[in-house]
């Protein structure tokens, strides 16, 4: 469809999306009202949470992924690398973290991306700024935060995420860790790399947006359903304010614990946000919940296994410690200030 009639299909898709989105509450109200369970019961509340959230999250996600698929088509990893090469440290870290937000990134491509940066002579700390920001601060996380919590929290997450990526990258760069790269990576000669931009027509880009929706929504929907399911369970079965006792802001150890639990876990931002929403509703502090979310999304066991091909265990350990400390700091400051 996007091939043959790009513009009509595009407009049609937008109209359908708006119609669906504006009628979500009506639809959910109707479904909840015909459910054969008591709406005040635990099960009733859990189901209501699921029915209101699942379609909303899926619709928001499809919309954003479509637009970001189009925007991403301007930011290939090759272009990002060309933009980063030869910039002074500090500025390069800021740029790397920001480009991490808009450059399409999948942890399965982390290794070629890493090597590509090394080949261009981009300093290790700058590469790390990119690698921290790319999975953590992305369009999916930001839109869902915006859709479910409003613009303030979305903006806060963006700022704090970039802060962790920039500072984390600068610190890692200062530690001169090049010797802890795998030997074959250290031996890669840097070379002058040419960059040629690909010229795409707008219909081509629409097509890319559509492919992104198929690809990404096709991959993360299961995380979303699990996430909303867990959220629904917390919502229906955990008593009000129950979490305040150990995830509240007066509990100092809640943030480190949230970070430690979050590190090995792997989920797309789309899966963890409904959980965060339910945690907050039950009395968890915002700093604790955001720290949990950041550590789930930014650090994960599968990504570390992939990065093990280029980083020695020691470097992976240092990388995790620095990023985790950054997230910890953000969570603690947050709970203190708010």
């Amino acid at each position: 469809m996007f091939n043959k009639y790009p513009w009509p299909t595009f407009l049609f898709a937008i109209i359908v999306w708006i119609l669906l989105y504006s009628n979500l509450v009506v639809f959910a109200d109707f479904v909840v009202s015909v459910l054969p369970v008591d709406p005040e019961s635990h099960l009733g509340q859990a189901l209501a949470f699921f029915i209101y959230d699942a379609p909303k999250v899926v619709l928001l996600l499809s919309g954003v992924v479509f637009f970001m698929g189009i925007i991403n088509s301007w930011f290939t990893p090759e272009k990002t690398r060309a933009l980063l090469a030869g910039r002074p440290l500090g500025l390069a870290n800021i740029l790397a973290a920001s480009l991490g937000v808009v450059t399409p990134f999948c942890s399965c491509s982390a290794v070629p991306l890493f090597i590509g940066f090394v080949q261009a002579g981009i300093p290790l700390g700058v590469t790390f700024s990119f690698l921290i920001a790319a999975p953590m601060v992305n369009e999916i996380a930001l839109t869902l935060l915006f859709g479910l919590f409003g613009w303030k929290i979305a903006l806060l997450y963006l700022t704090l995420g970039l802060f962790v990526a920039i500072i984390g990258g600068i610190v890692l760069g200062r530690l001169h860790l090049e010797k802890y790269l795998e030997q074959w990576v250290q031996d890669i000669p840097t070379k002058q790399l040419s960059y040629e931009s690909v010229n795409l027509t707008f219909p081509d880009r629409l097509q890319l947006g559509y492919i992104a929706v198929k690809d990404i929504v096709g991959k993360v929907w299961i995380y979303i359903l699990i996430g909303i399911g867990v959220g629904a369970f917390i919502h229906g079965y955990i008593p009000e304010n129950f979490l305040a006792a150990f995830m509240g802001k007066d509990v100092w150890w809640s943030v480190p614990l949230a970070v430690i639990i979050g590190i090995p876990m792997y989920s797309s931002a789309a899966g963890v946000i409904p959980v965060v929403q339910a945690l907050l509703a039950k009395g968890a502090a915002l700093g604790t919940a955001l720290a949990f979310m950041m550590s789930v999304v930014a650090l994960s066991l599968p990504e570390m296994i992939i990065l093990r091909k280029v980083l020695t265990l020691k470097l992976i350990g240092i990388f995790i410690s620095i990023v985790a400390s950054g997230i910890l700091l953000v969570g603690l400051i947050f709970n203190l200030v708010l």
Binding site: P77, P104, L113, G116
Partner: protein
């Protein structure tokens, strides 16, 4: 006859891309030579930063993501 190479360390999209090219070549009744390049150092020799990448006769024609049917048909028809 053209030689296709699909670059990528065994990710799912790489497998799909490989299958897409072989399937379309079959449909069009064209014989092509195709191989997978999975070793990261070999992949990097082509300077491909996002996989899957597609190489035809040692020229990189595609980087990152599954190519569209239209693209693949064009590549093979020109062969």
């Amino acid at each position: 006859m053209k030689t296709f190479k699909v670059l990528g360390g065994g990710c799912n999209n790489c497998k799909i891309t490989f299958k897409l090219i072989t399937d379309i070549a079959d449909e069009l009744g064209k014989t092509i030579e195709i191989e997978k390049v999975e070793d990261i150092q070999d992949i990097m020799a082509y300077d491909v930063m996002s996989t899957p990448g597609v190489v035809i006769d040692e020229n990189v024609v595609h980087r990152g993501g599954i190519p569209t049917r239209k693209q693949v048909i064009e590549w093979i028809e020109k062969a």
